[in-house]
Symmetry: C2
């Protein structure tokens, strides 16, 4: 039986990086993966820039200036941000300059206006400034030719800002993985339909769709299928060529109605694994159909949810060329006891201010209400014979 | 001059909770705020449920059963998940049952099939089980009438799963705040246009739009305006009645072109504050126009970005009824020196494995390239006279 890491590595090894690309308007690229290096065409700032409002001049000429012994300069021009000064600043000359404006040729610093008499034709300077001290050099932030964002990066708000500053109005991005989702189970009915005795509403299908949407993937299809191996096999065989990944829920345990084993025999071109050494969601099954990985998650909601984070998310990240496959991991002090041990376990939890809490109440893997408000998974290692106690430092995976 | 917390509290106090609601299909509710209590209509599970594949019977009748001295039961039926058994399990009787199926009346536990001979008419039981031990009681997860998700909660993937399990096909949600964005600055030109000497591309407008999109708000309008107080005032006056919040960037410092002070005089019905005791972005200005809060962020990209997180995000959260206004705060060991002190400062940084790094290179508040890959802000307190050193424990605000 594989460990989580082994199962993840097998899945990642069998997942292909998406190569299809498309141009999208800048803001529509949010959450997508950049398919080209974003390279600076100009220096940033594109010119030596004034960091403040004042007077641009030659710093060496301010030596010894003070309120008591001011120095005078002839003001030969005035520029605001967005303007340029055509001339050159010579000895004894200054240009009135505003924050963000290009420092004119000849000048090498800016005296802040608070140290002057705000003179319009002639200005009195009450302080001294070394050359290049109040001066943002051209290319201080980055230089023409620099790669600022590498191909394969996920585009977040900051990337959007940088791409905009580079002049990008649209970007080449990878298309999102095409993911199909099938929930199984004769006991499952669609939310919105009337309740029938013995049935439950389908939460897994909606959960997996929601998590995919949160991860920037628009599901290709999301359907519920009855516990009929031939029917589920037909769906998978028909859709696999159109999908980069298929996720199913339910039918992976050892019961008579655990149809996914039969489905696997009907459609798998390669079996990857059945069962992973964790709770919940141990019976996760995985195989390849044609060239498409199929991950069959447990039907119990938390089992499906935990394995989505631990096994499916790395596939999505690999497919989009994102090198960081895992959730961020931190260590925090746990605020409750959890006394089941001898098995590697992931528990839903909530962290805040360096501490982590397990929700009160039902921790059965089938209980979905206690997942609410959880923002992380707490990992209990196999070696923790008696679980963990309040005050222990535990491993926290941020969702 | 206000502290960040004082400025935030003033803004939050002047921000109204959105009251307009709308029904959306379940998956479209992702990221929105629930406008009704989500209440269970049925118990979950809606019936006592079998946690495994086996035989439902009366636990007390298995006392003493073992491989050596099995007990026999008459199998009076067979049910799968999604089915119901009409009869009642009497003394000496058992019903073949699969995981997820309702435990029939009369039975009070399920013997796992591995402890039986899998008998079809008569089954031999090789193990004993106490009443209600392998038995998920009706309502174990939640009960009819329970409020599972409170009005005002942000709907994440888990909420979607719970709402689905309650049978919701659509939900009543609050409309997102209507936010308008204006970037100012004559030096700023639109990405995609040709570079002109002295100009820079507008990154702030796109950054703020992107962060709003990431926070579930679709900007109402996003425009660039020249440094003309009358023009910017007209835009704000015209659009304020249609907006819940207006954000501007640039023009808030003390220069001649810092037009937002004049704009404030032209349109403000109430001034809130100018200047906040932090770096970067200290000159943030805020006022009310009509009933709409206007937050004027600094034009330097990191100043705008940091103040968006510290001041604007709390407004958005308040408006959507979310009680958690702040970023999650953790404490971690910093991996670089940062030697500027005596001023409360927020630095962009990257955390991983309980540690936090400041990016190498330029930390000037105008430099946007070093924001890339940052997932948190490190707070340096005013009392840190000489900044912080590698190995210090610092306060980390997760973005």
């Amino acid at each position: 039986m594989y460990s989580v890491e082994e199962a993840r590595d097998v899945l990642v090894a069998h997942s292909k990086v998406i190569t299809k690309t498309t141009y999208l308007p800048l803001l529509s690229c949010l959450g997508k993966v950049l398919a080209e290096d974003a390279r600076a065409v100009y220096d940033q700032p594109p010119f030596p820039r004034s960091p403040l409002d004042g007077y641009a001049l030659r710093g060496e000429e301010t030596n010894g200036a003070s309120k008591e012994s001011p120095k005078q300069f002839r003001v030969i021009g005035k520029i605001y941000a967005g303007q340029c000064f055509d001339g050159k600043v010579g000895a004894g000359e200054a240009v009135r300059i505003m924050t963000g404006a290009p420092i004119p040729e000849g000048a090498n610093t800016v005296i802040r206006q608070e140290w002057t008499d705000f003179g319009e034709d002639v200005v009195e300077i009450y302080g001294q400034s070394k050359p290049f001290s109040d001066y943002c050099p051209q290319g201080e932030d980055y230089q023409a030719g620099d790669v600022l964002i590498k191909k394969g990066s996920v585009i977040d708000g900051t990337s959007i800002a940088i791409l905009a500053s580079l002049g990008y109005a649209q970007c080449l991005v990878y298309e999102a993985p095409r993911v199909g989702i099938i929930s199984t189970g004769d006991e499952v009915i669609e939310p919105g339909s009337s309740m029938i005795p013995g049935k439950i509403y389908d939460s897994n299908l909606n959960y997996i769709c929601a998590r995919l949407l949160e991860k920037g993937c628009q599901p290709m299809f999301a359907i519920h299928a009855k516990d009929d191996p031939a029917n589920v096999s037909d769906i998978i065989k028909k859709l696999a060529p159109e999908c980069d990944l298929i996720i199913t829920t339910g039918g992976v345990s050892v019961g008579e109605k655990d149809i996914m084993h039969e489905v696997e025999e009907l459609v798998a071109t390669k079996k990857l694994f059945w069962k992973v050494k964790i709770k919940p969601g141990a019976p996760t099954l995985s195989f390849i159909c044609g060239e498409t990985p199929v991950v069959c998650l447990s039907g119990n909601p938390f089992g499906a949810a935990a394995n989505f984070e631990l096994l499916v998310r790395p596939i999505l990240y690999k497919m989009t060329g994102n090198p960081v496959w895992n959730m961020p991991v931190l260590h925090m002090e746990i605020q409750n006891d959890f006394k089941k041990g001898r098995c590697r376990r992931f528990l839903r939890a909530h962290y805040e201010n360096d501490k982590v809490w397990l929700p009160e109440g039902n921790h059965a893997s089938g209980a979905i209400s206690s997942m609410l408000g959880c923002n992380c998974l707490v990992e209990i290692s196999e070696s923790a014979e008696h679980g963990v106690s309040k005050g222990d430092i535990v491993c926290v995976h941020l969702l």
